[in-house]
Amino acid sequence: MSDKPAPAAPQQSRASAKKELPEHFRGYKHVWVFVELERGEVHPVSWELLGAGRKLADQLNVDLAAVVLGSPGDATRKAVNESFFYGADLAYLVEDSILGDYRNEPYSKAVTQLVNTHKPEILLLGATTLGRDLAGSVATTLLTGLTADCTELAVDADGSLAATRPTFGGSLLCTIYTLNYRPQMATVRPRQLPTPVRDETRTGRVIEFKADLDEDTIITKLLKFIPDRESAKSNLAFADVVVAGGLGLQSAENYQLVRNLATVLGAEFGGSRPLVQKGWISSDRQIGQTGKSIRPKLYIAAGISGAIQHRVGVEGADCIVAINTDKNAPIFDFAHIGIVTDAIRLLPALTEAFRKRLSPENADRLAG
């Protein structure tokens, strides 16, 4: 019953029955991006969203606004300026000491108040732990639609937001609309969209907003924040070179071949979802829709078939190299370079060949 995006004809006929946008929503204008500022740092997905938001705003001929929440101080002001560098025309700034650390209550209150006051037509958030926690609360309070984990955003001929995401199980995508409600909300995963060019000459208007918040009425308290150990962090999402393996490797032992190649390349390693389910790799190494999206310069996929859930996580790579024994594997539909061969035999040879090719002596030779 909840499988509505399954490719069934009736839904498409219903979808075309667009009503007029109700009167009270007509005043909703402009594209907003929630800038995720946590512990003094902006999550890079915010810049990616500003890049996408810029295109939507230009097409709609409206402003792009950054929404910045934080405690009063330099980090918050810096986030505002950076938002301009990455494309925002204006920034709604909510400065309040209550907003220092993320908590659902004050954040969802502040964002909801801001939306109800300034009425955006589109509101985008990152599909991060913070963004997902916040977006669901805000959309429910506003009683509007929220499309999760989009891989692509566009504006259609009517000016409606067309948010595309993979559908369950198959090699299919679906485009979801929120036609008769405002704002149209969507979350987008980190590294799904390119980071726009940073332009330090750009500036914009700052609109300060005083949210109605009171620490005494906020029940949830932060007792402590324990930062991750540096070594525990995998840099998969931001790595320049990524090597990954799939079920084609056939065993956890063979997966070691992926790690060996990654070590020689100074690369990060990862894999398809079944490897996480089998316990060959930890879940923060999963690449794809329900794992990490990556945008490396080089992505080497060994023994991965290339299901849509995997594909959407890697399509941002500049160069995708696929190693697969099946010449009809879907991965060859989006890889740039393919080789039809046994990965278990190729990987050790590739590791050796790269080791030689990329050795410092060779580097000197190249430089000289």
């Binding site: 839904q11 926690d133 669901g136 929220l146 100074g266 690369a267 539909d333 190729l346 080791r355």
Partner: protein, 283 residues
């Protein structure tokens, strides 16, 4: 402690196949399972009940066959299970789902007393939005704790809960009040198998089945497809790139293949060699 756990029955993704010609999902014969993420929340709820006493109720909105998933929760140890099923719920997006669930939860509280905790899974493996937990919390006015890796303390007397929560770059330790909604992270506990007496009890148990009317859901326009602000307009196969992969002919042996492959990569992306040489030597 009175605890509710929301669960969803989902197709076993490991067994989903896509029709090679029509590109549609072949659902027929695909077994269903309890959404795997929900089991971690169920386990946490059972642990709290075992410690403090009380009862664990499970709830799902779904087709009649979702009763199987609920029966399974009872075999694992849940005390009571409720199936919310009605044709009015069909085609619900997350907003319409949370409306129906919240109404049913109100009815549950009316029938069996106020809840201390409501659990959901982190997300499902089919819809995969992670929006239902926050939505239910908002509709019921519950404090919301998502991505919880550990329940440090639950104090029934003081009505306080202390938890650890996964955040960007670290772990938040939060204190809040009951009643609240908790979504557990996966892998945070060992899900029990359930005792033999539990499975015997489950096999005989009645799954309480509620229609919209039974759950005292008044506004049917807020349910199902009607109550869903999102509309799926188009389902399509990803555009096939006209340029399929440039295939590299494997060599006589793996070593040759490796050489030609590397040649092909650097020929296509000349700047890569320099970048990768730096990376390989640890710059």
């Amino acid at each position: 402690m009175k605890i509710l756990v929301c669960i969803k029955q989902v197709p076993d993704s490991a067994q989903i196949r896509v029709h090679p010609v029509t590109n549609t999902i072949m659902r027929q014969g695909v077994p269903t399972i309890i959404n795997p993420y929900d089991l971690f929340s169920l386990e946490e709820a059972l642990k709290l009940r075992d410690k403090f006493g009380g009862e664990v109720t499970t709830l799902t909105m779904g087709p009649p066959m979702a009763a199987d998933a609920l029966r399974k929760t009872m075999a694992i140890g849940a005390d009571r299970a409720i199936l919310l099923t009605d044709r009015f719920f069909a085609g619900a997006d997350t907003l319409a789902t949370t409306y129906a669930l919240a109404q049913a939860i109100n009815k549950i509280q009316k029938t069996w007393g106020a809840l201390d905790l409501v659990f959901t899974g982190k997300q499902t493996i089919d819809g995969d939005t992670a929006q239902v937990g926050p939505g239910v919390a908002k509709r019921l006015g519950l404090l919301q704790l998502t991505y919880v890796s550990k329940i440090v303390e639950a104090d029934e007397e003081k009505r306080e809960v202390v938890i650890e929560r996964r955040a960007e770059g670290g772990t938040q330790v939060l204190k809040t009040k009951m009643p609240c909604l908790i979504a557990m992270l996966e892998g945070t506990n060992e899900v029990r198998r359930g005792s033999i007496s539990d499975s015997l009890r489950a096999a005989r148990a009645d799954i309480i089945t509620w229609s919209a009317k039974d759950a005292e859901i008044e506004d049917l326009t807020k349910c199902g497809l009607k109550g869903s602000p999102t509309i799926v307009k188009k389902v399509f196969a990803p555009p096939v790139r006209t340029d399929r992969a440039a295939f590299v002919e494997p060599g006589k042996n793996a070593g040759d293949s490796a050489d030609v492959l590397i040649e092909a990569i650097f020929k296509r992306h000349p700047a890569l060699e320099d970048d990768m040489t730096k990376l390989a030597s640890g710059f």
